[in-house]
């Protein structure tokens, strides 16, 4: 496979896959999808990029140390649970906030979504970290 083709494909696919993954994440609560699959999708996009450009560049485009990103993702998940506690509800209790969004009507945002974002970030960081580490280790 020609690496030029691969590079071009990776560059084009990366943003597309990221957007698609965010859609999967946001809709996951109501139709199949969710944070896990979304995170995996982004990870595979970045892996594709790494295959084209090398693992170091792939790490570079993440702009944040993957190890730290794992921690952040997990902390988001934990925070989603702790928000409930702060509001006097049990740990992990789902809190929902409604606010009007122009053109879309009422939007409900809840801590379960935040939790799913935590899953998304964690999965993304974990998969990338593992594959890139292995790839770097000749």
């Amino acid at each position: 496979m020609n690496s030029v083709i691969l590079r071009t494909a990776a560059r084009v696919l990366l943003p597309l896959l990221v957007i698609f993954s965010i859609i999967l994440l946001l809709r996951g609560h109501n139709v199949p999808g969710g944070g896990f699959v979304g995170g995996l999708l982004v990870a595979s996009a970045v892996v594709l990029y790494a295959m084209a450009e090398g693992p170091r560049k792939a790490r570079a485009i993440m702009r944040i140390d993957l190890q730290v990103l794992i921690g952040i993702g997990l902390l988001i998940g934990l925070a989603a649970g702790l928000i409930g506690v702060a509001a006097g509800e049990p740990f992990m209790a789902g809190l929902w906030f409604e606010f009007p969004a122009p053109g879309l009507g009422e939007i409900k945002v809840g801590t379960p979504l935040l939790f799913d974002i935590g899953v998304y970030v964690t999965v993304l960081a974990v998969c990338l970290h593992m594959i890139l580490s292995l790839a770097e280790d000749a």
Partner: protein, 575 residues
């Protein structure tokens, strides 16, 4: 109170995750780690007192009531285990700061330890069988990473065995959960306990119970599932293995205790003889394994197997009592004796777990200090510590004697309570085995003492060690850098001394500990208390009506569930 039950989990989880985020700064990790470790006993103590004063505490996570959501339960049994975790956590974090080499500390020791403690607490507090599985896996993976941390050849070899057998255990656990869900349609332990008698599938229930026994038995290192433990426990540095020895195998024992007394009391009674055999073999095989070893940590590792047998012995005795009660449930005076014996037996298991957690961890600590001082834990290369290190000798002697069950240290009471229960239950051979194994434990401990402490160091020890290193092409796996390289011996000795004092204090002040353990025994033998704390009264009433409709005896009365009549199947939905 919701938060209080969850707090032992959340505390360590937060600490672990913050440490992950602070990956690049070891000092920051140390601060986070020690703060969490110090808060641990505080939180556990608070939980202990609360449960003592106002009975079992539950937390319905996310606000979904049991049995639909996940519920955490702190009852008399689990809070004792959580308290042990807190002590172990604090001691090991302090010790590691003195003992652990910099590369390993940089490679995520602190986050992993806290995540491990999170998972262990989770497994103890969870009231949901699948949630327990999840915590098991967190614990397992954290322990995998810790056991290989450093990547020496010995660590990797040991880890492969550790990982494989524990993964097999996980798969069995998962399959058993699936099969169980297939017949009772629920995952909540209390709900399973109530619904399982309604199902008429004695064979299937027995097999599922056996699968749980094997799955937990592998984690607990029971005979004949223990092989991974002696293969791996001596390979990582003591700062890592001490925490394994402190709490990990106990998770397996706790799970057997919880699941069998709550959900499978009938199977516990029916297969009490199997339990007795397993307990006896585990004790004997473990202690004989230790007798064949001449390296401190290997000896200690094999003894862990043997002592798991003691912990399991309490459960086996409880099973023997239940079996006899099931044969003859008439209310004569023997019934009272047997019931009490079962309670005492479980109390013995609890005390043994506490005692062993503290003492075995400390022995690994001490082996670590010896390794820092002499560069090896191989008995034939050691000697003279009695002359050169009186304080260390004292710490070892007291701790080792506690392990061997010498009064008036913690181990004595642990053994006494079990022996007492065993004699009351008429489990003569098991008691005989336990006592015999006790004397062999003494033999092993004295062997270490005579070889490492009393003996004169062999003149060629240094040369032999160097030659050994040479022949292995570098440092031997498990042989630490010589003479305190990069180690802070004071920081290593403080927790060792504190745990030694604790072993003595637990021995002298056994009364409150025994009472707590006895309450745990009563809680275990009267599962209704647990069930009623978890499930609401209305729900239970509906189930009880259903139970009556099936012609089953009423649920109340704890152990009487074992004397259950032949139920007739009903397609009806109890809820």
């Amino acid at each position: 109170m919701d938060l209080l039950v969850a707090s032992p989990i959340l505390l360590h989880l937060t600490a672990g995750l913050l440490c992950v985020v602070a990956w690049k700064s070891v000092p920051a990790q140390r601060v986070i780690s020690i703060v969490a470790a110090l808060l641990g006993p505080l939180v556990a103590g608070l939980l202990l007192v609360t449960v003592h004063n106002s009975g079992p505490q539950t937390a319905a996570l996310a606000g979904w009531p049991a049995p639909y959501g996940i519920v955490l339960v702190g009852d008399a049994v689990s809070v004792i285990m959580v308290a042990l975790v807190a002590v172990v956590g604090l001691a090991v974090v302090v010790y590691a700061m003195g003992a652990l080499d910099k590369p390993r500390e940089r490679a995520g020791y602190h986050p992993l330890i806290h995540l491990l403690l999170t998972a262990v607490n989770g497994a103890f507090l969870s009231g949901d069988v699948f949630n327990m599985y999840v915590w098991f896996e967190v614990m397992l993976l954290a322990s995998f990473v810790l056991i290989t941390l450093g990547g020496t050849r010995g660590q990797l070899e040991g880890a492969i065995k550790y990982v494989t057998l524990n993964l097999l255990s996980s798969v069995l656990f998962l399959s058993a959960i699936g099969l169980l869900y297939g017949i009772v349609g629920t995952l909540n332990l209390a709900d399973i306990a109530v619904k399982l008698p309604l199902v008429d599938a004695p064979g299937l229930k027995a097999v599922i119970a056996m699968l749980f026994l094997v799955a937990f038995g592998i984690k607990a290192a029971l005979f004949p599932f223990f092989f991974w433990l002696p293969a791996s426990y001596h390979t990582p540095p003591p700062a890592i293995i001490a925490v394994f020895a402190g709490v990990l195998t106990k998770v397996g024992i706790y799970s057997i205790l919880r699941v069998f007394t709550l959900c499978f009391p009938q199977q516990l009674a029916e297969f009490a003889d199997v339990f007795v055999w397993i307990a006896g073999f585990t004790m004997v095989v473990g202690v004989l394994g230790a007798a064949a070893q001449f390296e401190m940590r290997r000896i200690l590792a094999f003894h862990s197997v043997s002592q798991v047998g003691y912990m399991f012995m309490g459960i086996a005795i409880a099973g023997v009592c239940l079996a006899q009660l099931a044969i003859d449930p008439a209310g004569d005076e023997q019934t009272g004796v047997l019931r009490q014996a079962a309670v005492v037996a479980v109390a013995g298991t609890m005390i043994f777990m506490l005692h062993h957690g503290v003492v075995k961890m400390n022995l690994f600590f001490i082996s670590g200090i010896v390794m820092k001082l002499r560069g090896t834990a191989e008995l034939k290369h050691l000697g003279d510590l009695y002359r050169t290190h009186p304080m260390l000798s004292l710490l070892f002697m007291v701790t080792a004697m506690s392990l061997a069950g010498i009064p008036v240290l913690s181990g004595f009471w642990a053994k006494l309570v079990l022996v007492r229960a065993g004699l009351d239950a008429g489990a003569w051979w098991l008691v005989g085995a336990a006592l015999f194994v006790g004397s062999l434990t003494l033999f092993s401990m004295v062997k270490i003492w005579a070889e490492a402490f009393w003996k004169t160091t062999p003149a060629d020890a240094d040369k032999a060690l160097a030659a050994h290193d040479e022949s292995q092409g570098g440092p031997v796996p498990g042989v630490e850098p010589r003479a305190g390289q990069g180690a802070n011996l004071t920081l290593m000795t403080i927790p060792a001394a504190a745990l030694t004092v604790l072993a003595v204090a637990m021995g002298v002040g056994i009364a409150p500990i025994y009472r707590a353990a006895e309450r745990a025994g009563e809680a275990v033998m009267n599962p209704d208390q647990y069930i009623e704390a978890v499930l609401d009264a209305e729900y239970l009433e509906r189930l009880d009506e259903h139970r009556a409709a099936l012609g089953l005896p009423p649920r109340r009365g704890g152990a009487t569930v074992v004397a259950e009549a032949d139920p007739t199947p009903s397609p009806e939905d109890p809820s």
